[in-house]
Symmetry: C2
Subunit: 259 residues, 2 copies
């Protein structure tokens, strides 16, 4: 199995909390987790857990508290709109034991965004921010997200979430860059499993994963090697390519985790 060292090392860790009944009912397919995961990987932050919870106060608070105590950063999506089922901000305030306040800067942003007379009380709810939080810019529709402690509260609508995240990432302390190689071949996982396990034992500082695929009518296996020491990743990749060839396969090596 993957060594704990390969999993974290000196890298900051993160969790994603997806908030919304629509994800759990199957109505809406989450499109945010994969995007956040890729962006965090790019800056050396290890996403270690994700949770999806319904629009229920006690569930949201319990998940936020469990995750913020455990990981360097927590990113939430969903539940910061103007309707009755948008309760994330209240829940975060309660989790941190601070009041939810009408934020003047958030109000100003909404006033600039809406036509005169359109900024009603429901929309003003989007300016209710936990005391002590700092705003996260929303270049798409202005209603801000916010950061409090190590928790980043973002919108659920993918293009808005992505714009918010783009503004957050440059301010985060990342970790050592993760180097990755993918060795793909048309050998079955079971053919290469024994030697792959032995390789993982020899390279306990790397994270080596095996993923079967079916592409263009062919079954095959993608073997992904990740670690912070590029030299080790390259050395393990060369060994693995040799193993694949010895077992009668043709290794295709690509940089990164795709392929």
């Amino acid at each position: 199995m993957t060594s704990a060292a390969a999993e974290t090392g000196s890298s900051p860790t993160a969790a994603v909390l997806i908030i919304g009944n629509e994800i759990l009912s199957g109505r809406t397919k989450d499109a945010n987790l994969g995007h956040i995961a890729e962006k965090l990987s790019d800056i050396g932050v290890r996403l270690r857990e994700a949770r999806v919870v319904p629009d229920l106060e006690e569930e949201i608070i319990a998940a936020v508290d469990a995750l913020r105590a455990r990981y360097t950063y927590v990113f939430t999506t969903g539940g910061i709109g103007p309707t009755h089922d948008d309760i994330t901000s209240e829940c975060i305030a309660r989790a941190f034991g601070v009041p939810l306040e009408r934020n003047p800067e958030a109000v100003a942003r909404l006033e600039r965004h809406y036509a005169p007379g359109q900024l009603n009380e429901a929309r003003l709810r989007m300016a209710n921010i936990p005391a002590g939080a700092t705003l996260i810019d929303n270049p798409i529709s202005q209603a801000p997200g916010f950061r409090i402690g190590n928790v980043f509260v973002m919108a659920g609508v993918p293009n808005i979430m992505q714009a918010m995240l783009d503004g957050i990432l440059p301010k985060l302390a990342g970790g050592p860059a993760l180097h990755a190689r993918t060795v793909s071949c048309t050998l079955g996982e079971g053919v290469i499993a024994a030697e792959l396990g032995a390789l993982q034992d020899r390279y306990a500082d790397l994270e080596i994963g095996s993923y079967p695929y079916f592409r263009n009518g062919y079954f095959g296996t993608s073997l992904v090697l990740r670690g912070t020491d590029e030299g080790r990743v390259v050395a393990a990749t060369e060994e693995l390519s040799g193993v694949v060839t010895r077992l009668g396969g043709t290794p295709t090596v690509t940089v990164g985790t795709k392929g």
Copy 2:
């Protein structure tokens, strides 16, 4: 906010546990949660939580124990293949405090599937099943999943997972069917929020959600009403359509949660 009654009522509940570093690294986009969510909704089982954890024994065991104690059913995906990073079966056995045994029926299925000489020790690992578990059929590649207690352990490859789930669902005790209507309109969420909240208060037995969309160049809002009493869902839908019209919108009502 959504009432607890609307959330569960007499319905069985479920959680999904997605196991695999590839989901948390962003390499692989999960395609299973949405599918499982829809299928459970169809039989009146309420998916209440989902978690994604890495291929780490202690993480998997802790999540399985937390979820199986809390929900009627737990469905796991991933980690039952032949390679070193496939550790789900061992973890489930440890969570239940039972030995992991080589299952004769699972071995027989693998023997029928692989050509003579191809069923090596790595592949035989896929026949290691916790004592007392019952097998879940895998019509695609034979290597079975299993059920132990209220936990259903399935493959991570989507077409295999879907085939396993199709075999499981008819055997589950479902709940009262959920009836749903969607009222969509081009009014902004903020325009309708106040009356929508009042409607949710009057229909606390229903789950009413508001989801902004951007389609064919138009922004709009989809308002989803769900509940086990179809008459109540229909009545609330009619009231809501009236609200939309009164606010200057044109309601489009569809059966189900899409639209």
